[in-house]
Amino acid sequence: MVTIFNRKPDRDESGPSGKGISRRDLLKSGGSASLGAILIISGSSIIHPKFAWGLETTNLDPQTMATLIQMARDVYPHDQVPDRFYAIAVKPYDAKAGEDPKTKKLVVDGVADLDKRAGKGGYLGLGWEEDRLAILRKIEDTPFFQTIRGGLVTGLYNQKDLWPIFGYEGESFSKGGYIARGFSDIEWL
């Protein structure tokens, strides 16, 4: 099971927090990497030390998951949208990888291919979006890319918490519709 869990934000990025693993612990335990110097990966988790969430993986290795999160952002980049939403969008692949070996292979091989094409340092090591996009453009017709992209259309954009970031107000029946809430309030025409 993958869970997106909330944890108390670290007061300073490296200091121990009330709950969860501190960055120093992670570093000590070895094998950690970071995604854009924001996400911390260790053991079975990806942790966002500043914005108070983490993601535990069971079937995919967290490095793979972190790469998927970055790929998701590269496919549908919205700079105002926090990583958390991209993480929620791709987290079902962890569960699916447990249920279906084909999905697991698709994802694991797909990510391995991204890393291979990126060379030393892997996909996450590429600092410029443009360099990562150059790789994605080469694989955009593959089942791996199309599966991830297709899944994001609902996985990302159907998150209710995301809508306010785009200014979409969602459900309106309970508020009596817009008849008294600006359905015809345009002023600039």
């Binding site: 496919v75 549908y76 980049p77 919205h78 105002q80 996009l133 955009e140 992209r149 259309v153 609902t154 990302l156 954009y157 159907n158 209710k160 995301l162 809508w163 785009f166 200014g167 979409y168 107000e169 969602g170 459900e171 309106s172 029946f173 309970s174 009596g176 519709g177 817009y178 008849i179 809430r181 600006g182 359905f183 015809s184 309030d185 345009i186 600039w188 025409l189």
Partner: protein, 523 residues
């Protein structure tokens, strides 16, 4: 007899489907004292069950049983198993529909006469004229409470409409208003007025928008002469040795197969399922399917020439607030071949929420060109183009060779390719739509491809002669006297207008005819 009816009761009229055509026909017959059983494949959700959420509502109401696609239309690539966006639920697609209710124009009933022979198109004149249908249009408008008819006021314009109107004025368009909508602008028919909720496509939770679900069907049920059986998927229409239909085989709510006897069968499953059912009902007497001596069952599938234009402005629009189809421009609806195509098109406002816009703005697109459009969601306005498309024999519904539904019957394949006339019209409309928005300051415009078909027409078309079509001017099978088609598949050609008002008008007219023929004992 009174509802509910016995399976063995062979005096009933069985109607397949409870949408615009079936729901209306059912009520009209019941009002005349005729016993009716409506078999509806979908469940019954009342209007307070509707959900103000695009995908959740889609999951609740849409027809998602598998279909396949072929042909060069983009839907086949982007949504290979979802050729149409229509409903499987009591009320049919009148739960999802936007409410635009326009009469056909005179010349559109005589497409062949007015457009002449168009290469590759299977054009034909309707066997009825506008004059013949006018009294029924009037009844339908009254029944549905269409604005700007029967002294019903137009709806107030929302922001999306105001942008459209400002652009229309700049381009010199003269016929732009908030439309002829089957949405209450004031309380009427025990239904309240539009609250500008903005979820017309998800089912109107206020009941302000007409749907057979909460108008025709309960009215018919109140007479005691109409029984609606939800979760009842009809598989096959049966006939006797004389070739008359005698009943239908269906799978009931418990998954059990039942045989409902019938005096008359009217098919109203929308233009994909209706021909599929006739084809699946093939027998040794009718090896090509019921009512198919012409070979036209399933052919001439039309979906209107559609597309959308979205535009981003420097300042907020909030297009999603208020009625989804909040206004119309009719200036391009005329037949004016100097534009490079025959027939015409309407421009109607449309808006989608973030989830649907992400799926439909440019299916398959990714990267910043795409995402930067969504980033401007608040500043976006949108319109939908709906125009007459050409009937083509090879645009058709066929039975899939291998794939079967869960009851073992072949599923439908929808083959569609644009006719050059369709493309020319769409390109013209894209240009006009983009120019319109640019005229009011759009900084970016998007000629958005057609969505899965919401208007599905023509696959059991009306014709004067039996060899040219499937039914006569009363929607009665040319081959089988007691078999009728009551939905949009009867359309000989599509016109530029949204089809539902015409479907409802034809159903009212058909009810008169059926009652008359029953009384005369010819059926």
């Amino acid at each position: 007899m009174a509802a509910p009816y016995d399976l063995k009761d062979d005096s009933v009229v069985v109607i397949i489907g409870s949408g615009a055509g079936g729901g209306t026909l059912g009520n009209e017959l019941a009002q005349k004292g005729i016993d009716v059983v409506i078999l509806e494949a979908g469940a019954r959700h009342e209007y307070d069950d509707f959900i103000n959420d695009e995908w959740d509502s889609f999951g609740q109401l849409a027809w998602v049983d598998k279909r396949t696609t072929s042909g060069d239309w983009r839907v086949a690539k982007d949504f290979p198993n979802l050729p149409a966006w229509i409903v499987k639920s009591v009320g049919g697609s009148t739960t999802h529909w936007a409410g635009a209710s326009l009469r056909f124009q005179d010349h559109e009933f005589e497409a062949l006469t007015h457009y002449g022979k168009v290469k590759g198109a299977n054009l034909l004149d309707w066997p009825i004229t506008l004059a013949e249908l006018e009294p029924y249009y009037a009844k339908a408008e009254d029944k549905m409470g269409v604005t700007r008819t029967n002294n019903i006021e137009g709806l107030p314009g929302n922001n999306n409409f105001k942008v459209l109107k400002a652009g229309a004025d700049k381009l010199g368009y003269k016929e732009c208003n908030t439309g002829h909508m089957a949405i209450n602008s004031a309380e009427r028919d025990d239904r309240m007025s539009c609250q500008q909720t903005g979820f017309c496509f998800q089912g109107c939770k206020w009941g302000a928008k007409w749907s057979t679900l909460y108008t025709e069907i309960p009215k018919g049920e109140k007479t005691g002469k109409l029984e609606v059986r939800p979760n009842s998927m009809v598989q096959k229409i049966e006939h006797d040795k004389s070739g008359k239909v005698t009943g239908v085989l269906y799978v009931d709510k418990d998954g059990k197969q039942q045989l409902q006897k019938a005096r008359i069968v009217a098919v109203a499953g929308n233009s994909i399922e209706s021909p599929r059912l006739l084809l699946n009902s093939a027998s040794s007497m009718f090896p090509d399917g019921l009512g198919n001596s012409s070979g036209q069952v399933g052919r001439n599938y039309m979906r209107h020439t559609t597309g959308s234009v979205y535009a981003v402005f420097e300042k907020p629009v909030h297009m999603y607030r208020g009625t989804t189809m909040a206004g119309i421009i009719r200036d391009e609806a005329k037949h004016d071949p100097s534009r490079g195509f025959v027939g015409g098109y309407e421009m109607e406002t449309l808006s989608l929420g973030i989830p649907f816009l992400a799926a439909f703005l440019d299916p398959g697109a990714w990267g910043r060109s795409f995402t930067s459009a969504l980033d401007q969601y608040v500043n976006m306005a949108g319109m939908w183009i709906v125009g007459e498309d050409m009937p083509q024999e090879d645009n058709r519904i066929t039975l899939h060779k291998d794939e079967k539904d869960k009851y073992g019957l072949p599923i439908a394949n929808v083959n569609f390719s644009d006719h050059p006339n369709d493309k020319a019209m769409r390109d013209h409309a894209y240009k006009q739509g983009q120019d319109l928005y640019k005229a009011v300051g759009a900084v970016r415009t998007f000629p958005t491809p057609p969505y899965p078909s919401t208007h599905n027409l023509g696959t059991n078309r009306m014709s004067e002669k039996a060899k040219d079509g499937v039914v006569n001017k009363n929607g009665q099978s040319h081959d089988i006297k007691n078999l009728f088609i009551a939905d949009g598949s009867q359309f000989t050609t599509g016109g530029a207008e949204n089809p539902t008002l015409t479907i409802v008008s034809l159903a009212i007219r058909q009810a008169d005819y059926i009652a008359q023929e029953m009384a005369a004992k010819t059926i």
